[in-house]
């Protein structure tokens, strides 16, 4: 067992090392892209539309934009090397601090959405695979198609309309918590966990209610790919020789479907879930906007619109690192779930 653990750690370390060049590439590429995009931050951050040429030049000099692009890149890289992501012109705070404050909100939302999606998608996929071509199968297909067709902001608005405006069940969609609840002492940044740690059940429920609608509207979008891959892989699994073996000795239906078929079928779902998670984290900007969620994606969008270089670069770097990390976690999960992987 020890050797297995050691091998996993070595493998993980090697994977992290091998992803460094890709991260570096992302870094440089984003830097150059930001320089190519139209829009001059100096003009944007000048005191007003009447700011004189000299004032703009002054700001430009302050920001180091008067130097050549390669020089700027070197400065930027050396800053990154020291763990300094720069300062946001919008908020006036260091980007690292901004991201640190906002990332937990995004992560909490994405994790919850993914959890909801998996809880819905895996059973749907399994049911569809157990009765291929049946009414249930077609129902699942239709549901999945709808989930993909309807953009997240539409489904988000629809959910708000129904549950907040018509039924009044949900709280007003303004951020992670309503104005009357006091925040728990910050430990993890995940409100649900912090409230629990503080023993504040009422606060936890408030945060939960705020979270449910945005999480569901994000989940609706990714249920489709997860359910489809579950169905496809479950069909292969159910048709495989070892499931036939399991049936040949009369194992109970539950044992055949869950222990034999599903556990094998879940392997590709893990991979897809990892990809879906990374995509959601960056692409949930629309949901964050609709629900005024203080996440990193809406932060990056605002920064992009005001030509604020540092936060956008910081965001892209964060996303790339998270993507590497998520892939690593998926690999490790895969290694645990499938004994065949570790010997390769």
């Amino acid at each position: 067992m020890m050797t297995g653990l050691g091998a996993t750690v070595t493998r993980a370390g090697r994977r992290l090392l091998s992803s460094l060049p890709a991260l570096f590439g992302v870094l440089v590429f984003t830097f150059l892209l930001m320089r190519v995009l139209p829009g001059d931050p100096a003009v944007f951050f000048a005191s007003g539309p009447n700011a004189g040429k000299e004032e703009i030049e002054q700001i430009r000099k302050q920001m180091g934009l008067d130097k050549s692009v390669p020089e700027q890149l070197v400065f930027y890289l050396s800053d990154i090397g020291q763990g300094n992501l720069g300062r946001s012109m919008m908020t006036g705070q260091p980007v690292l601090k901004d991201l640190r404050e906002r990332l937990p909100a995004s992560l909490e939302l994405t994790f919850t959405a993914l959890l909801i999606a998996l809880i819905a998608a895996v059973p749907l996929g399994v049911i569809a695979a157990l009765r291929p071509g049946s009414v249930v199968d077609h129902g699942v297909r239709l549901f999945c198609a709808l989930g993909v067709c309807v953009p997240t902001f539409v489904s988000g608005l629809l959910l708000i309309y129904v549950f907040y405006y018509l039924l009044g069940l949900a709280p007003d969609p303004t951020g992670r918590i309503d104005v009357f609840t006091s925040l728990p002492p910050q430990r993890t940044g995940f409100l649900l966990i912090d409230f629990l740690l503080a023993g504040d059940v009422e606060g936890w429920w408030t945060a939960c209610k705020q979270l449910i609608l945005p999480a569901v509207s994000m989940a609706l979008f990714v249920i489709a790919p997860l359910a489809r891959i579950t169905r496809a892989s479950m069909l292969v699994s159910l048709g495989s020789d070892f499931v036939r073996t399991a049936r040949s000795v009369g194992l109970s239906w539950r044992k055949v479907v869950v222990t034999y078929a599903l556990r094998n079928a879940i392997l590709p779902v893990i991979t897809i879930a990892g990809i879906v998670f990374s995509t959601m984290l960056g692409a949930n900007v629309l949901v964050e906007k609709v629900f005024s969620w203080p996440g990193v994606a809406s932060y990056a969008l605002d920064a992009l619109l005001s030509s604020d270089y540092a936060p956008v670069q910081g965001f892209v770097l964060l996303m790339a690192s998270l993507f590497v990390l998520v892939n690593l976690v998926v690999d490790i999960c895969y290694g645990i779930a499938d004994p065949r992987v570790s010997i390769e």
Partner: protein, 556 residues
Amino acid sequence: MSEELLRIDDLHVAFSTRRGMVEAVRGVTLTVKAGEMLGLVGESGSGKSVTGFATTRLLDAAGRVTGGKILFRGQDVTKLRGDELRQLQGAAMSMIFQNPRAALNPIRAIGLQIADAILTHKRISKEAARAEALDLLRAVQIRDPEQRMNAYPHELSGGMCQRVMIAIAISCNPALLIADEPTTGLDVTTQKVVMDLLADIAAARGMATILITHDLGLAARYCRRIAVMERGRIVEEASPSTLFSAPQHAYTRRLVAASPTATSRIEDLVTEEERERYPAIVSKPRQEPAHGTPPLLEVRKLAKRFDQGSAAVADFSMTMAGGESVGLVGESGSGKSTTSRMICRLIDPSEGDIVFDGQSIGHVASRDFHRSPLRKDIQMVFQDPNESLNPRFTAFDCIAHPLMRLDGMRAGEALRQRVVECAQRVGLPLDLLPRFPHQLSGGQKARVGIARAIACQPRLLVLDEPTAALDVSVQAVVLQLLDRLRRENDIALLFVSHDLNVVRMLCDRTIVLHNGGIVEQGESRALFDNPKTDYTRKLVEAIPHIETGPTLAAAL
């Protein structure tokens, strides 16, 4: 012992396909007595496996019993539902499958899988089930059973996996065991060990066994009674000796004849009409090469190492004269395929040299060899006719492809004629040329593969188990074709196979490989009749024998 355990009465099974219902089994009637071993023999598509699956109620969703009864201890199995059925499966009858590695759950430790089967039918604790599973692993003679309990199927060899499968099947002492091609795909020596084990266990526990196989020799060795199936019907049922000495049905006669034995010759395997112009060619004495002719192929001290592992092949040397046929035999992992691939220049040797027709080709990198003028002189026929043909190429394209690539021919009448000529040489009906591989039968695909290989008139043909995936009757025809081509065109054949009976017939000389090294080599008949090493003797003894009496020859 004479109690009737299973009675299948006029069984019909149909599969719904895109082209409507297809009847796979049409009116099978047979009985199995308690404790006996019955052989159910037939070629692919004869419905033997479907009969087995119908009995254990494991048919695919597309398959349905459309008529007849399957009475197990007087109870009609086809009518059972839900729990009644599950109480039968595993506890009263169980099944062993063809591909043992795929038949086991890849991500569950084998000990748990055996315990799963036990816990389904016995109300005992998990620890007790685990202990029973351990006993079963001992019963199927797995070494270090304690450690193997936690092993996963991919960590075990094919033979080991089949033992585990047997352990699962016998875990609840069923009265009936259905073994569906239990040793197909295993080495001959492993086959013998697994079959002996299965027979011993069945005898010791008084289990009746239905052995479903395509191998008449195997059935004859282990069964007292054999039922022969053809196209969904049982055409003959008899004891092995009667079956071989006096087969009644025409199909049985063909099957018996086509099964290679220690003494059979290629011309014996096929029926009169299939022999075509073969006898005339065989009778023509082969021209001995003039004294001092350099060998066509000379292999010197060839070795192959993969990564940092030990050598897959080491110190392999051989020579071949033009038009000679040499067999390369050995079990899986003996390095025979690696060797043949190096000689074909599909992979690079680590050491040693290959000299073909006086030119050293061992040092030409394998990825550049396709540009060598010798590429068309060395061609290969691959094992699986399904996998080795491009599914998007018609038979015509397949044969034309090497002509265009290696002979530089352009599409046109000349190419057409060459392709037609190749097809005729391998006996491929010309109206099949526009067909795609999936529209051809196994034997037809094998012919396309051979036609493709001989299209550029090679001087050396390397055949990697060319008949392993074929039915015996098709194999017989293909073997005859290969031998005819060799004699007509003076093509040297390097024949890689695990089937010693086939090698004995086809090859002048045989090389026995074991663990990457040559164990023994010599003239084929002498080598097989008087093996000098223990390993060769073990191989030869493991082949199931068929005793053919003189009556058979008379019947043909």
